[in-house]
Amino acid sequence: MDLDTLTKLLRQATDVLILNSPFKTCMGTLLGIAIEGFSTLSPALEPVPGYAWISICIFLLNVTSFFKRDRISQASERTLNLIETGRKRGLIAPLEAKQRFREIIQQELDNQISVAKKDMQDPSK
């Protein structure tokens, strides 16, 4: 396994571990610890361990992320899927697939910049 693949996999792993948002995860931990402190006031809640409160709160604060769709245009998504499928089936060489992914990023960026430029020229829209 080359370093490129290794770092890519590690990135994906870290993203999963902190649920894509370290700040929300931290706030969930903060809330969990606070609730754990207050749970000592109620005999019914007292047996619930601290880890359970922290896990529940982290989940609750990140629940929107689970249902949030990537804000990516359908055309770009289709194209990305097409390249990825082609790469997996061996129809596109890995090196070419990498180049195509970059081209799509470049095209998307150019598209968004041209839309932004149009908006600046005509802010009334």
Partner: protein
């Protein structure tokens, strides 16, 4: 005024706790660890040492990684290309998120130790370890992203391409003088029901153009 309100809320918390549970807690134990430290109690010294190391490392991460990134961005001065500039902006946003997280975690760590000591409960070192690992993982994430950007390998796979395109669509630029305050640098207008039609002659992203 703030100190007074903090003190009053602190004492009212113990009064409320006493009325609810019937157990009276003496607020004095909050100073107990410091008294133990003064007495030279070894477990207290060890706990304080561990707490200082953990919080110190968290704060250190927040201060060390940031200048490294700024130093790197100074080298570039004028970005070689638009995608390069974009990935640098993305890196900064991820870094800011991690820095915010490390600050919150430091506060959480201190608040947790304080709360457990005050309520006379045992400090679970597993929770402190969990807090520390969240910060470590978030900075490993930043360093991996930095590495991939520096090596020029970022954005060459499905996962990252989708990630950065999504970031372009969500991106906003508050520093734009004519419009300012939360204006979207890349408006969402292109994300209509049929984006292919919306783009018109500007062209969509096609794989084999």
């Amino acid at each position: 005024m703030i100190i007074f309100s903090l003190i009053s809320s602190y004492t009212s918390f113990f009064t409320y706790y006493a009325t609810l549970t019937g157990t009276v807690i003496d607020p004095a134990p909050i100073f107990l660890p410091f008294e133990k430290l003064g007495e030279g109690n070894m477990p207290a010294i060890a706990s304080a040492f561990i707490a200082l190391i953990v919080d110190g490392l968290i704060l250190l991460l927040g201060t060390v990684v940031k200048p490294y990134s700024y130093r790197a961005s100074k080298d570039i001065k004028v970005a070689e290309s638009k995608p390069k500039a974009l990935t640098e902006i993305y890196l900064q946003s991820i870094l800011e998120d991690s820095n915010k997280a490390s600050k919150v975690i430091s506060i959480v760590g201190i608040a947790y130790c304080l709360m457990q000591t005050t309520l006379g409960l045992e400090i679970q070192y597993g929770i402190l370890l969990l807090l520390f690992s969240i910060v470590i993982i978030s900075y490993i994430r930043v360093l991996l992203l930095m590495y991939r950007i520096r090596k020029g390998t970022y954005g060459n796979n499905y996962y990252e391409a989708k990630e950065i395109i999504s970031f372009i669509s969500e991106g906003s630029d508050d520093s734009d003088p004519p419009f300012g305050g939360g204006r979207n640098a890349f408006p969402k207008r292109s994300l209509g029901k049929n984006p292919l039609v919306d783009r018109g002659l500007e062209g969509g992203a096609t794989p084999w153009t």
